[in-house]
């Protein structure tokens, strides 16, 4: 059973809508620790402030359960948007430590490195470049593009963890994959056939 973690942050209905289309009609949206303990795979969504997200996870008392399921039992987890940033060690946006599952840090877009016409947040579609072979991008239609809304992005300490990159002013990490731990900065649930294929792959191959 696929479970979308409800920790009071982010738009969960649209993820469930896309999962339905991807052939997973029974994805569960849940804030129940016992349900997380039973799930086969997890989606960690999220939109908003890094510290708020980490505090919400702590308040829900999810840390131990999540660490055990993901780090020891190695069930697949897909972070989306803020959910992907939370996989990192921490963020320039706040003071809270992240989940620390990926050896990466979350940094703010640097306007000094970008042409003046580009605004932050990065809001819109971006073409992505796949950096390593992954089932998550299996059978992906040509020229994949995804919808982004973000002010911060991941920076990997270990380049081998980078799954996809995108360019906005300069290239940045748009997705990571390390074993059972995956994260994408963009919104597959808002990204037409590309997002549909990605979520279909997550259901099918992980």
């Amino acid at each position: 059973m696929l479970l979308i973690i409800d920790y009071g942050i982010g738009n969960l209905t649209s993820i469930r809508n896309m999962l339905k289309k991807a052939g997973c009609p029974d994805a569960l949206i849940s804030k129940d620790k016992a349900a997380i303990a039973e799930a086969d795979k997890l989606i960690l969504p999220g939109v908003g402030h890094f510290d708020y997200g980490m505090k919400q996870l702590r308040q829900a008392d999810f840390f131990d359960t999540l660490n055990r399921r993901v780090l020891e039992e190695k069930i697949p987890v897909l972070g989306i948007c803020l959910g992907a940033q939370l996989l990192s060690q921490g963020s320039e946006e706040g003071a809270e430590p992240g989940l620390g599952w990926i050896n990466a840090y979350t940094r703010k877009f640097d306007p000094a490195r970008m042409p003046g016409a580009l605004k932050v947040p990065h809001m819109g579609w971006g073409d992505v470049a796949i950096q390593k072979e992954s089932k998550l991008f299996a059978a992906m239609p040509p020229d994949p593009r995804f919808y982004f809304v973000h002010t911060y992005h991941l920076v990997c300490e270990d380049p081998a963890d980078e799954l996809v990159s995108c360019t906005y002013g300069y290239p940045f990490t748009a997705g990571v994959e390390k074993g059972n731990i995956l994260g994408v900065q963009f919104h597959p649930e808002k990204s037409h056939k590309y997002g549909l294929q990605l979520l279909t792959n997550f259901i099918k191959y992980y």
Partner: protein, 256 residues
Amino acid sequence: MRRIRVIPVLLIQNAGLVKSIQFKKHQYVGDPINAVKIFNEKEVDEIVILDISATQAKRAPNIQQIAEITGEAFMPLAYGGGITRLEEIKEILYEGAEKVVLNTSALDDPQLIARAAQRFGSQSIVVSIDVHKNWLGQYKVYRNNGTKNTGINPVELARQLAELGAGEIMLTSIDRDGIFGGYDLDLLKQVTQAIDIPVIACGGAAEVQDFQQAVSIGGASAVAAGSMFVYQRPHRAVLISYPSQQELNEKLFSQL
């Protein structure tokens, strides 16, 4: 390559899809849900849906209709019309809309923008400004679907809205609406130069070159259009269309 969002704007009046000319002469063009399905198949970047009859009728957003629409929209969707309360914004976002669009209530209750931005993030709060150019050549903000002159200067208002926490400004020229004459580039320039948040140009688009001008000359971050995507010229036959990725690449993205 820099991608610009190209956004169809759909107007709902009494549950039907309509299109206007200069905010008047609304003509029925079809069923909203069917239109969203077609735009979804055409893989549009984003879609804006405005219920233009809600405020006039003092009607709250129709959450059930919004849920039906978002169930067919696998792209970002912004919804506006009749929103006056934080709770309504919460429900609309919960149903799968990415953003809400405020217009009349942003003028009546500016603090709603601040509270909404704080709670849901600026990125989900779009404020639309409808502008008419008077006979003296002055730009004035109109409200209640373009029916009442507020006397306010759009640049001043845009500054205030940005300050309050609006994430984007959708800037519509009432005079250009539905007449296929290109965007009001002067209006766009004035507003985009005054604020840092993205401005969505709206009103007047006839072809992809107009998008390019709105961005290159007007400084817009995104472009929106209504008639161009629901009518086939010259006879305004109803036909939903959207430029292909190839056309957008050639005439827009690669020209920026």
